[in-house]
Symmetry: C2
Subunit: 335 residues, 2 copies
């Protein structure tokens, strides 16, 4: 790597002159500036980021910790975070917690040693289940800012980006009711998560408010992975009267649709389905799944904005929670 020192030697000037010249300091003569820049360009000089960061105590790097990169929601959020960060001149260091508390803790520890200026993260499932967030608060106490998105906790006082999960499910359920559906089931494989609980409550509330709704609420909480298909087939076998489904996670909506077709339901005549899946799965289904669109790109972008804002405004304002609007996207699986 080319260093300032090498430039200085070749030009027979001091290191500080070179440094100032490259920053267009008006202490330096235009002539010298030009010579310095010319050589720097010629030798493809790039300031050593480590040295700059060490000196300035700013890394211009954001640590991103997501629970599961194979979940398309998080992949897309990461995509948006990377885009926006890059646009604003920040690098991102990515860690995946794999839903494990211990991995989340490790990553946080590992990066809070000067590697990053702040964090953007979504809580691991284990962390949410145990509701143990000491490690997060410890980082915040070291004055390293954190933005939480999607999976958050009341026990952490920091900037957050969420969607209105309760309302999203509430509106989706209302819509099915407005279609005249009488037996609406909710399917979830994220029953343990904050967002899962909120969405379930939204569904329950909508049913409760519906005057003429006679049946019981039916919540299908699918625990361990792999049993999704079996559980949904079982649902259709044992509950032949079902005429509406709200699937509140990323994939069960698609699976439900596929199984319903297999069981010869006419969609949407016999049965409506609304999922929370991302757009990417739409090409895999026919008819297309109606969904609650979560504007994942906006979530990622807002997270970066909140963090950078916090990093750059030393005046510590109160913490802020940004709620990204959802949108009910009606497609082929609703009337």
């Amino acid at each position: 790597m080319v260093t300032l020192k090498q430039l200085a030697e070749q030009l027979s000037v001091s290191v500080s002159t070179v440094s100032k010249a490259l920053h267009n300091s008006d202490e330096i003569s235009p002539d010298t500036i030009e010579r310095v820049k010319a050589l720097a360009k010629f030798l493809n000089y790039k300031p050593n980021k480590l040295a700059v960061s060490l000196k300035s105590s700013k890394t211009n790097t954001i640590g991103v910790i997501i629970p599961n990169i194979l979940n398309h929601f998080f992949a897309k959020a990461l995509y948006a975070i990377e885009m926006e960060a890059s646009k604003q001149g920040y690098d991102i260091i990515t860690c995946v917690s794999n839903e494990k508390f211990s991995k989340e803790l490790d990553s946080l520890q590992l990066l809070s040693n000067g590697s990053v200026d702040g964090f953007i993260m979504s809580l691991a499932e284990e962390t949410q289940v145990a509701n143990d967030v000491e490690h997060i608060n410890a980082i915040l106490q070291q004055n390293i800012p954190i933005v939480l998105f999607d999976r958050v906790s009341d026990k952490i006082n920091t900037d957050k980006v969420i969607i209105d999960d309760f309302d999203a499910a509430y509106q989706a359920t209302k819509y099915l009711l407005s279609e005249g559906r009488k037996h609406i089931a909710l399917i979830s494989d994220i029953d343990e998560l904050s967002v899962g609980k909120l969405r379930t409550n939204g569904y329950l509330e909508a049913l409760k408010e519906a005057g003429n709704y006679k049946s019981e609420a039916l919540v299908i909480a699918i625990k361990k992975e792999g049993s999704i298909e079996g559980r949904i087939e079982q649902l259709f076998k044992t509950n032949t009267s079902i005429d509406g489904i709200i699937a509140i996670d990323n994939i069960t909506g698609v699976v439900a649709l596929q199984k319903a077709l297999k069981f010869n339901y006419k969609i949407p005549q016999d049965l409506s389905i609304i999922g929370f899946s991302d757009e990417n799965v739409l090409q895999f289904t026919d008819p297309k799944l109606s969904t609650v669109s979560q504007h994942t790109l906006d979530i990622g972008k807002a997270s970066v904005e909140l963090l950078i804002n916090r990093l750059q405004n030393k005046t510590s304002r109160d913490t802020e929670t940004k709620t990204i609007k959802t949108k009910l996207q009606l497609r082929g699986t609703t009337k």
Copy 2:
């Protein structure tokens, strides 16, 4: 952040003593070592990574540049890279080129300023189409090692991890021939990429070698995104004799299956389909798609191993290309 200096002051010893004590130097008395470590632990001391890196000229960080994180193949590769790197004590900095040459170039430039020890990357589509790899070779000339995976180039002499794309498609085609299929089409939305070309050649070769195969090869190269579904529907409408499909990219296999079902093909009686999709889409189809399994996790793992090997063995051995074996996973869409 707690620094060595602070520890030193509190203990009334010198900075160098503290540093040595924390590294268990046998120059330091057991007693001092204990005192130092106790205080370090108490104050939650963590060595500043920037300073260590600057001093040692090693960052223990790998730059990863992938073309598209929303493509499940790359998300999974990234997942594997992160896992393995983390296990070996390396962080990863992630950049997404979004298939753009310019973004790939920027990322490379940005991180080759001391931020990372080396790169793991897969070429952007634009880079492959233009076959312009000067920027990659420039980095290599600066003695920053790069491991290429999946999308590679003959014009770059470096360590690579690939699958035998030609053979994978060749074997898949052979299998359909062995089923007695007489009209086998190939579908691809990656016709511009090195891997796409190789797979297509494998298909063509298998057909050529088949003595009793009468029909023409039929390659459906789908260019721009969005038209996949239409193009496949059209295929079924205009080619009613098709009885076998090799889909060589991530998604067209699933779409072909879905459309075939819609057109009332009996699968696999009337029509066999083999895709290159990742396992994650399997839950979306019924019957389950037969695929060429690419062992994506192994690809990521091997990439990290090659890079770290290169980083740690200063003896510059010849460049190495590792070929990860594929496996034909027969499921419900083949006989």
